[in-house]
Symmetry: C2
Subunit: 161 residues, 2 copies
Amino acid sequence: MNQRIGYPDGETVRIRTATLGDLPDIVRMLADDPLGATREQYRSPLPDTYVAAFSAIDGDPNNELVVLELLGAVKGVLQLTFIPHITHQGGWRALVEGVRVDSGSRSLGLGRRMFDWAIERSRERGCHLLQLTTDKARPEALRFYEDLGFVASHEGMKLRL
Amino acid sequence: MNQRIGYPDGETVRIRTATLGDLPDIVRMLADDPLGATREQYRSPLPDTYVAAFSAIDGDPNNELVVLELLGAVKGVLQLTFIPHITHQGGWRALVEGVRVDSGSRSLGLGRRMFDWAIERSRERGCHLLQLTTDKARPEALRFYEDLGFVASHEGMKLRL
């Protein structure tokens, strides 16, 4: 989908576009979490809805699903969506969703590495703002984002349909 | 862009896809607001960046910019973005941004009408969630969204790039 998405770093960490073959690892990481466990279905074969969503993301130039590899093993995931808006004089924004680091690989700075990449990538795409919503039930995530420079200036509101 | 976007209602209110000709009305409404006044440029001709953003939205099947007409005059605007995600078993979400009702037409229920439309449209597109962020400096907007059933379960975090 794009050529500049990966970068090597002493060959230990690589961030690259996700492939269909990564989907089981991605769903495993999403499900391995107190909130994720209640809403994901990590089984083999995976429910078709995951594959359909992967295809929709993969076919859309404004969506990028990336994984972080540590020594060749998938240890993190993140999705970026680039959105044109009329507000802010027609400014593009990037939205981050579905961030997860493997539960066995925490405290290695991998989340930070993924966000450094996401910030750089969003700038490349001409975005003036990177935004996300984080569940108020995850205070440690809030601190992580504040350390990165995110400001909790907004309420993140959701309506189930 | 899509055929089912407008609906008549006793011929007084209509919600329809925005056209390029609506852009001055849209920017005027966005600029006519304490926060918008600091970041928009409502002048003639409009800055090219607005036109470029309009074209990007108009050409993307996952973005819909709509206006509300009251007796033929544009009195409201809203943008919907439909996003496929891996989370929630590959669920699609809709994101609302750039909501504004003309300052001379408040308290007529026009905002509610736009959201009724947005909720219905998001369901049509198969979304399981409608989400938005609202500036904590707009307490009246927070109440409006809570009345519609939105829950402020998340922090809305922004990082300027």
